[in-house]
Symmetry: C2
Subunit: 186 residues, 2 copies
């Protein structure tokens, strides 16, 4: 049961967006530009969603990991295996580029705290072709999900068990982005 | 030295806002409503800045801890001692209400991960008079600074050593809020 009295029928962060619209707007603007818009990053929306999925998995946030895993799958033409590998933290063998492996390594350092990112992590990403902007985007996506995961779990919001719920949210967000109406389960 | 090529003369997150204006806008909108606006919370701006300061101290983020400590001081009529106690993690003896002590305890749990917040933490805050909205605001402020701290340190931005720099930023932000031009040191 959530720690505070939240609107019923909305899972995870959606219940918090309904509860406090003042912060919902900038938070959705942030993920829209960070994850969804095509002209804001040279990483694809699918790659950016995988970074969000991986960070949420490392933080053991069931709602965010399943939601962004489902969005990533829909952004990556239904590639379910790569999402499963990222959720299982099998990065070495996951079906992603060597550049993405280096960026996911940076994301895992950010998840443990910003100071854990080393010069060697950055050099490795550059060696695999990552630009400054791609390193920037990776750090901010991982940092942002350290916020979203804590917001969702710190207030003990409801995380559905039904995989089809996450798939429906994933399809909606991959198609429409983050600025449309929240997904209602009931 | 920063991990990526950032504009010179801007400390901490200000260099990142100059580097990537697309995400600077929602991030500043978020702190404006979360920390500064008077009509968005029943916690005072000074109390909300103390939660940001405490979380940043727990994350050992020099730039954010010093900046928000200075903003808190200016929001709290120059009460430097309470800021020093919060930065030194002396919450038990700090010059804050029992409600704020209970909320800072929740913030410290969020800093370690959302699932660490217990029913007992929530009950204790309620016993001291905290409302649902104040618990919500505390969790989101602590969560947001787990993002800002990681963004600032994950890219190894420049944190000035000079206390007068933080005091000047603190005075500016306490007065003008977060939507005005960045503070330039050079």
């Amino acid at each position: 049961m959530p720690h505070i009295n939240l609107p019923e029928g909305y899972p995870g962060i959606r219940s918090l967006f309904m509860y406090n619209p003042e912060t919902a707007l900038p938070l959705n603007n942030l993920v829209q530009t960070l994850l969804h818009d095509k002209n804001t990053s040279t990483l694809t929306p699918g790659e950016r969603e995988l970074i969000a999925t991986y960070t949420s998995g490392l933080n053991e946030c069931k709602y965010c990991a399943n939601t962004h895993g489902a969005i990533a799958k829909h952004q990556l033409n239904g590639n379910e295996n790569v999402v499963k590998d990222v959720l299982a933290k099998n990065i070495a063998t996951a079906d992603v580029s060597d550049k993405m492996k280096a960026l996911l390594q940076i994301a895992s350092k950010v998840q443990r705290g910003g100071k854990n990112v080393t010069e060697a992590d950055i050099e490795n990403a550059r060696k695999e072709g990552a630009t400054d902007k791609e390193i920037h985007d990776t750090v901010l996506i991982a940092a942002a999900f350290c916020m979203f995961n804590r917001y969702v779990d710190g207030l003990a919001t409801w995380a559905p068990d039904d995989a089809s719920v996450y798939d429906a949210i994933g399809k909606q967000r991959a198609t429409e982005g983050y600025m449309t109406k929240p997904f209602i389960v009931k």
